[in-house]
Symmetry: C2
Subunit: 308 residues, 2 copies
């Protein structure tokens, strides 16, 4: 049974598996047993997803993963120490990126597109800097640069939101990913249903060591420094930076700063959206990402032609 929306997601015959049915597989690298799921249309450059703070493979939105899988293979995975993957969460983004690179190579892949959300976006940047030949194109969602604004620790809003208790634990995500507007909260309640659609073989929740290690890594990344954005010049890959207009977890201005300092990046900010804009506007997000990943030249200029 496929729990998706036919008007948004076209399930191609060659797509044997979807977000809901893809089995969790395992591959060894760097002494770590990585859990991953791989599905979608084969034959092109796969898209590797890097997840947010304390998130697992189950925290992705099936409208986003299946939507993108209609035109490319998507690979979800848990990095070291997360949920069904063995090992420890390292205390730096660069070590997380090294583990991600080891995982990708262990799958026998020489070139991938990389999508990173929040902490996953930091990992995606560090991965691209360390392994520029491995990454074809980059999608940075709800994330920010080294030394970004309010990134040397969790923002006050994030501390309050992650520190509060909720009648239903999932309601945390209504505050992390969505604004307080009625429209955004309604989209959030829809997201929570989709997020629980997969019933078989769900990932275990992360253990209590994950959050402190990830916070340490985020804080090091976000610490103020001289010329914090210099490293972005080395990321020559066509990059799409996407965020909500009102991200209180990694402030939206950080997406603007990423675009301003990356040499080949487009910025898209969606209205009335918080950290999880891709879960509020999954159809727009899938269309925008697909366009940049599918384009022969993502940002084409008119060619020399004879107008005479």
């Amino acid at each position: 049974m496929i729990h998706t929306r036919p008007e948004i997601i076209r399930i191609h015959p060659e797509m044997i598996h979807t977000h809901q049915t893809a089995p969790t597989q395992f591959v060894e690298a760097n002494g770590i047993r990585f859990a991953y799921r791989r599905f979608g249309k084969k034959g092109g450059v796969p898209l590797v997803f890097n997840q947010h703070f304390t998130g697992t493979m189950d925290h992705w939105d099936p409208l986003v993963t299946d939507g993108l899988a209609a035109r490319r293979e998507v690979i979800l995975f848990n990095n070291a120490g997360i949920s069904s993957t063995s090992g420890e969460v390292p205390a730096s983004v660069e070590e997380m990126a090294a583990n991600a690179a080891a995982f990708i190579k262990a799958l026998g892949l020489a070139r991938v597109d990389v999508l990173g959300f929040s902490l996953g976006g930091l990992v995606a940047q560090a991965l691209t800097v360390a392994e520029p030949g491995l990454v074809r194109r980059l999608v940075l969602v709800g994330t920010g640069p080294r030394g970004g604004e309010g990134m040397d620790t969790l923002t006050p809003e994030a501390q309050e939101i992650f520190g509060a208790s909720y009648d239903e634990p999932d309601h945390l995500w209504l505050r992390v990913h969505f604004t307080r507007s009625e429209k955004s909260q309604a989209a959030g309640r829809e997201f929570l249903k989709r997020f629980r659609l997969r019933t078989g073989n769900r990932d275990p929740e992360v253990n209590e060591k994950v959050a402190p290690a990830q916070i340490e890594a985020i804080s090091k990344w976000g610490a103020p420094r001289d010329k914090p954005f210099e490293y972005l010049k080395s990321i020559r890959q066509p990059t799409l930076v996407i965020n909500g207009s009102n991200d209180v977890i990694i402030y939206t201005v950080n997406s603007f700063m990423l675009q301003q300092n990356l040499p080949n990046a487009q910025l898209i900010l969606y209205p009335d959206a918080n950290h999880g804009s891709q879960y509020q506007y999954p159809a727009l997000f899938v269309a925008d990402v697909t366009r940049v990943l599918d384009a022969v030249v993502p940002f084409p200029i008119p060619k020399e032609t004879d107008h005479a």
Copy 2:
């Protein structure tokens, strides 16, 4: 003979005229004889273009106007005192907007989409504030809010660029609209060819009274004030804010500020582009604008559905 690119622009049979062939027509309102050109696919909400500092109808890019005309009527016009339109350029954006509204109503139109570029984007905002019922959706290109950064006078870069002399006068626009990169300059040279494609019935250049009056209006708009962005809350129309990453005429950060303060706006920033990003990436621009103008709901959230 149609000087366009079949791969980008689909000329529909019902499009009798194009950017190159549309006759200049006239309509009277507010004691002003407005020059305009109107072409494209009839039947929907027309899109009214508001032009930049010292520009005329001929300064639009046929790839942009014909591209958008494939799916909607486009209306180019010269506001009061500009080129083939009679009257004087008023010394405030609000008076320019009142003239624009009078022009639109004189055409018998009760509801239009409005695109404004640079100074035209200021006029488009003021028009929407003054006549909210007249405007369905808004496209703000290379522009900024009241009291925006570096907007109380021409930026130092703009003063230098507009003050310099050029072997060929058109080369001014290579510096206004494009970055110094080789790729952007190549796109600029292509734009200059397109910009000269129309040979019949071109607009006369603006007279010497235009620039000082427009600068006075821009300076009043850009002057620092308390709570400069409050007025943006009243613009409830779905709005697309677009700019290049490196606008030195109206700094790119002003597009970010527009999006952050408009209640229902999407921001798109294109890479390695200056003030005229829509002339550097006409195909992307047409696709992005068309999507927002054509959408039943521009920024849709998933509907309530039964996932059970």
